[in-house]
């Protein structure tokens, strides 16, 4: 069956950007194989008819809406399994994001389907969809072909949000009884912000710090350098150091953080894991300082410096200041 089912995440009445990307991608690819794109939403009263209908603008013709807990994967698996069983979708497509990984993988088990994660390209081939996934640190691309239901989990930012000008999507309410195990996890608090609120998305120059800074106090070096650049510059951080409490969550780049594309991205002590790369790879100029010559970040930086950042950053800060004063 050529129809594509996507999951659309929402929070406080707003639809998730990566989910909208999945809807756009799903609509475009489904059209190529003679199908339609539908969406599943799960939540409470903020999923109004009006909000659900707006998915038509990204190419969805039908929205399956179920009442259920938000922000948890397993209830969504129940809903999607039911919708697929009753409607015979050929593919399930997810934008990048934590929940998409969990739902897609659990759905693969439930429906005995094939699943591919971290997909960057979906294309039609002989009336079917195939998925391309970069592997081995993006050095190779693996191509997935599916038997039966194919589950495709995109890499974050892989699918572009495209408004098609389509009319309101039809909203269909789904009634179901959740699996017992789906009700045995419950959200206590959701979307808690930790640390100061900083704005990194609008910065022209970002000095980003990772584990290589050694400790929370190491961020002073990054802050000094950002200050030396002056103007519209800021300090950003990797997930590892944010989770370790070294820097505020609002400054986090990558998979579960922000996506940035400044004129200059200066990465200090960052190894360059895929989860980080997806949030900053479209920066205009990438400079990396890392003591490990084999760090993956050197594979996608424009200028790489192999050395000790504790020696390099203070001198670089002085030199940037001197240059600006000259």
């Amino acid at each position: 069956m050529p129809d594509v089912l996507t999951y659309v995440l929402h929070y406080e009445g707003a639809l998730n950007k990566n989910s909208l990307g999945a809807v756009s991608e799903g609509a475009a690819r489904a059209a190529e194989i003679g199908g339609q794109c539908h969406a599943v939403v799960v939540g409470g009263g903020d999923l109004t008819d009006e909000l659900c209908q707006t998915l038509g603008n990204y190419g969805a013709t039908k929205v399956f809406r179920a009442k259920g807990p938000e922000g948890l994967a397993q209830p969504v698996i129940d809903v999607m399994a039911k919708v697929i069983d009753e409607n015979g979708h050929g593919y399930a497509l997810f934008g990048g994001g934590l929940l998409g990984f969990e739902i897609g993988a659990g759905l693969a088990a439930r429906q005995k389907a094939g699943v591919t994660m971290e997909v960057t390209t979906v294309r039609a081939e002989d009336g079917k969809l195939v998925a391309e996934r970069p592997i081995l640190g993006d050095s190779k691309i693996s191509i997935s072909h599916y038997q039966g239901l194919g589950i495709i989990i995109g890499r974050i930012n892989a699918f572009e949000v495209k408004a098609t000008g389509g009319g309101a999507a039809e909203v269909v309410d789904v009634e179901l009884e959740y699996s017992p195990w789906s009700t045995r996890a419950s959200m206590v608090t959701r979307g808690e912000q930790r640390g100061a609120d900083v704005d990194i998305e609008g910065a022209d120059v970002l000095v980003a710090g990772g584990r290589g800074l050694g400790k929370a106090e190491g961020f002073q070096l990054a802050e000094d350098l950002a200050a030396a650049f002056g103007g519209n510059s800021a300090v950003a951080a990797t997930r590892a150091v944010v989770d370790a409490g070294w820097y505020p969550y609002a400054a986090q780049i990558g998979q579960t953080g922000k996506t940035v594309s400044p004129k200059l991205y200066l990465a200090a002590g960052i190894s360059g894991a895929i989860q980080h790369k997806v949030g900053m790879q479209s920066s205009e100029n990438i400079v990396a300082i890392n003591k490990d010559a084999n760090a993956p970040i050197f594979e996608f930086s424009d200028l790489g410096i192999v050395g000790d950042l504790n020696k390099i950053l203070p001198k670089l800060t002085e030199a940037v200041k001197a240059k600006k004063d000259s």
Partner: protein, 263 residues
């Protein structure tokens, strides 16, 4: 309470990973080690045992893989597991994520754990997904990328970073939890623990011993075929400076930035 920790052997980080062109699968020969992400799961199990909020009677390391995977189990035991279970069967080779999760769930069903812990990803295939697959087969609640986990009123209180900030989720036992690497700093095994690891009980089972349906595993039983590996579009390699004289290095950086009008 019984905790099972899923572990995996992966090529050593220092070994260049590659696809075997004859099979289209990851070349898993060469030096192997315990997946570094799994050490956080073992440490989490140890901290639950030592924390005292719940009585942990047994920690069992579970793996699926060829004979060499025994080394990963020995390492897991040296880090604190009491014994290990090795699912080893030629018919499992080439299993995709779904088939691997199915086979692992059969091994886990034999153990009847109250808690299944695993790492956030493997160092080779980079799959973040096996926990969710196993959970669905075992019909247990599940959460991945957990960075804080406490036992509170007979359930797990887990924290993780999700799309909109930090979420706190209450999960009832039995459960499947994948931990993030920020959850703890794994301890180093003592020399005594390393020496003693080979003496701890290790059970090896084949697919048929635990009721695995042979038609659902291996390359034949997998629903997704990966292949046609191709190279990504080449990106021009960046310039690399080895820092020997920091003054000189900084001059070069400034010149590079200046050329691009970035200062």
């Amino acid at each position: 309470m019984k905790i099972c920790v899923l572990v995996k052997e992966v090529p050593d980080a220092a070994v260049e990973k590659r696809i075997d062109p004859s099979t289209g699968r990851m070349d898993r020969s060469g030096e192997k080690n315990l997946n570094p992400y799994d050490t956080h799961a073992i440490e989490a199990a140890m901290q639950l045992r030592e924390g005292g909020a719940v009585q942990v009677d047994e920690i069992v390391a579970v793996t699926m893989g060829p004979e060499s995977a025994v080394r990963a189990l020995h390492k897991a035991v040296s880090l604190g597991a009491d014994r290990s279970l090795h699912l080893s069967d030629g018919s499992l080779a080439g299993s995709d994520v779904g088939a691997t999760g199915y086979a692992l769930s059969k091994a886990l069903a034999k153990e009847q754990p109250d808690l299944v812990l695993l790492g956030q990803q493997s160092d080779d295939g980079e799959c973040y997904t096996i926990g969710a697959v196993v959970a669905d087969y075992l019909q247990m609640p599940s959460l991945t990328q957990v960075i804080k986990m406490d036992v509170d009123s007979g359930a797990l209180r887990c924290e993780r970073q999700a799309e909109y900030g930090y979420d706190t989720v209450q999960v009832e036992f039995p459960a499947v939890i994948a931990v993030g690497d920020a959850i703890n700093e794994p301890r180093y095994p003592s020399l005594k623990a390393i020496m003693g690891a080979k003496k701890k009980p290790l059970e090896t089972v084949a697919a048929g011993d635990i009721g695995i349906d042979a038609s659902r595993v291996g390359a034949e039983g997998s629903q997704v075929q990966c292949g046609d590996f191709k190279a990504p579009p080449a990106k021009a390699a960046g310039q690399i400076i080895e820092d020997e004289d920091t003054g000189e290095t900084v001059e070069k950086i400034i010149a590079w930035l200046d050329e691009r009008k970035l200062i």
